[in-house]
Symmetry: D2
Subunit: 157 residues, 4 copies
C-alpha cells in the first residue's frame, strides 16, 4: 500500500525577490499583515514555475490547489522602499495534500521578518476534492528533485 | 430605429454606508486611492440589488458587465475610524453600454470626499462583447424607475 | 506577582455581517483566502467598537496592536452574492499580549466556513513593544464583561 | 514670472515587468480592474527610482504626492500566467502638480491592454497641500532628462 505513504521531499528552496508596493502599507507605516499571505502565494507560484509545473497549467487543466490552512508568524516589520525575499519550500506532498513553507527575509541582511506555511487540497473544476492528477504529482516530485540538485550544484542543464 | 436611442434615466441614487477597514489605509495615514475603486464597485452592486437586478444574478446567467473605464477625483482624504457613504447612480444605459457615477461622502457631515464614474460593456461567458440581454436591460430600467419613485416618495409597496 | 497571571475572559462573541465584495473573489470563482484575513480584522475592529474601546482610539493615542501571528482554517468556500457573519471573540488578554478568535459563518444557515485566530502585541508610536496602557487594558476587560452580560441577557442599558 | 510656466518634459518612458498574481484575478477569470490602479502606482514608483528620485526618499523627507485623480481605460483583459509591462511616463510637472501616464502592455506581443493617468499634488506631513520642494522638483527634472537621454542612446554613465 504505497499510496498513503508520505514521500520524502528533498530540500528545494526557491527565492523570489519583491519590491514592496506602496499599496501594501497601512497607517502604522509598515506592510499590512495580509500582504504577506499574498506574498506566500507569489512564492509558491514561483516555486512551481521553477519546478517546471507552473500553477497556470494546473488551473488550465481544470484543477486547483485550494487553500485549507494558512499560518503566519511575524517577527519584524518591513516598509515601503524595502525589498524582501520570499523563500518557498515544498514541505509535504501526498496524493491529496500539499504543503508549502515560507520565509520572508529582508533583502539587505537576510534577517527573517516572517515565517509561514500553507496547506492545500486538490479540487476539480466543480470545486470537489480529488486526488492530485498523477502527471501533476509526478512533475512536482521531479521538480523538487531537480531544484534540490541545482541547490547541491549538480543540476543537469 | 429605437435601439440606438439613449433612454432617459430617472435620477435614482442609492446610498451605501461603509465603515473604513484598517487594511484600506496606507502609510500616509489615510485610505489608499485604490480602495475607492473597490467602493465604487460595492456601490454599483448595492444599486443593482436595490434595483432588484442583483449583479450575482447577471453573473450566474453567464454575463458580466466588464469595466472599460474608471475615473476618480479625490477632494479630501478619509481615515480609519471614519464612516463613508457611497452614493451611486445609473447614468447611462444603452443596448451595449452601462455607466454608473459615484459620490463618496463623509457620513458625519455629508461633505464630498471623492467623485467618480465607471463605464461597462456586457460580455458573455467567453468574455466576448455582446448586447445586454433584454430581460436584464428591462429589469435595470424598471429598477431605476422604481428607485426614482421611491426617492420622490411615491413608491408602491 | 499578579501581573503575569492570565485573566479569565468571559465568552463575549460579537457578530459582524458582511456582503461579499466582487473584488474579494478570484478566478476559482470563490472568495480568495487572503480576504478572510482582512475579515478577521474587520471582526476584531467590530468587537472593540462593541466593547466600547474602539481601535481608532487606541491608534489615535499612539499605540497599535501589531499582529504577531495569524492562523486560518478553511472548511468551505463562499461566493459573491453570499453574505457572511464574522463571529469574533477576545480569547486572551495579558499585560503585553492579546488574542482574538474568529468564525466565519454563512449567513443563511450559519454553517462554519472558516475559523481562525490572531495574536497581537502592543507597540508604541515608534513601533517598539510595550505594555498595553492600563486604561486600554481596563476598558477591554470591562467591555468583555459587558458583552458577556449582554449575551446572557442581563445587560444594563 | 517663470514659476507658473509648465516645463516641457522630454519623453522618458520606464518599463516595469510584472508577473500577474493569482490574488489579482476575480471570478470573471481575469485581472480585476482595481489591480491596474495598483500597477500604475508600481509603475510610477519604478519611474521615480529610475529617475534617481525614489519615492521612499520623498516620503522619508515628510512629503507625499497625494493622488487627486485616476483615469483608466481597459481595452483587453489579462490572466494569471500572463506577464505584463507597465510603461510609465512623467507627463506634467508644475510647482504644485504632477501627472504620470501609463500603458499596460502584454509582455508577449506588446499589445496595449490598458492606458491611464494619475494626477498628484504635493502634501506635507500634516496632509496640507504645498509646493513641491525645490530639490525634489529639480531631481525629477534631471531624472526625466537623463531617462530621455538613455532612451535616445546618449546616456552618460
Amino acid at each position: 500500500m504505497m499510496h498513503s505513504t508520505e514521500i520524502s521531499i528533498p530540500d528545494s528552496p526557491v527565492t523570489t525577490t519583491l519590491d514592496i508596493r506602496f499599496a501594501e502599507t497601512d497607517q502604522m507605516g509598515v506592510v499590512h499583515h495580509s500582504s504577506y499571505v499574498i506574498w506566500f502565494e507569489v512564492g509558491r507560484v514561483a516555486w512551481m514555475k521553477a519546478a517546471l509545473m507552473p500553477y497556470a497549467e494546473v488551473a488550465d487543466s481544470g484543477y486547483n490547489f485550494a487553500v485549507t490552512a494558512i499560518h503566519a508568524s511575524y517577527r519584524a516589520s518591513c516598509r515601503f522602499g524595502d525589498t524582501v525575499q520570499i523563500v518557498t519550500r515544498l514541505t509535504k506532498l501526498r496524493s491529496r495534500q500539499i504543503e508549502f513553507s515560507y520565509e520572508v527575509r529582508h533583502n539587505t541582511d537576510q534577517r527573517v521578518l516572517a515565517t509561514g506555511s500553507s496547506e492545500h487540497i486538490c479540487v476539480d473544476s466543480a470545486g470537489k476534492m480529488t486526488k492530485i492528477p498523477q502527471t501533476i504529482y509526478d512533475r512536482l516530485c521531479a521538480g523538487a528533485e531537480q531544484l534540490a540538485a541545482i541547490g547541491r550544484g549538480v543540476a543537469k542543464s
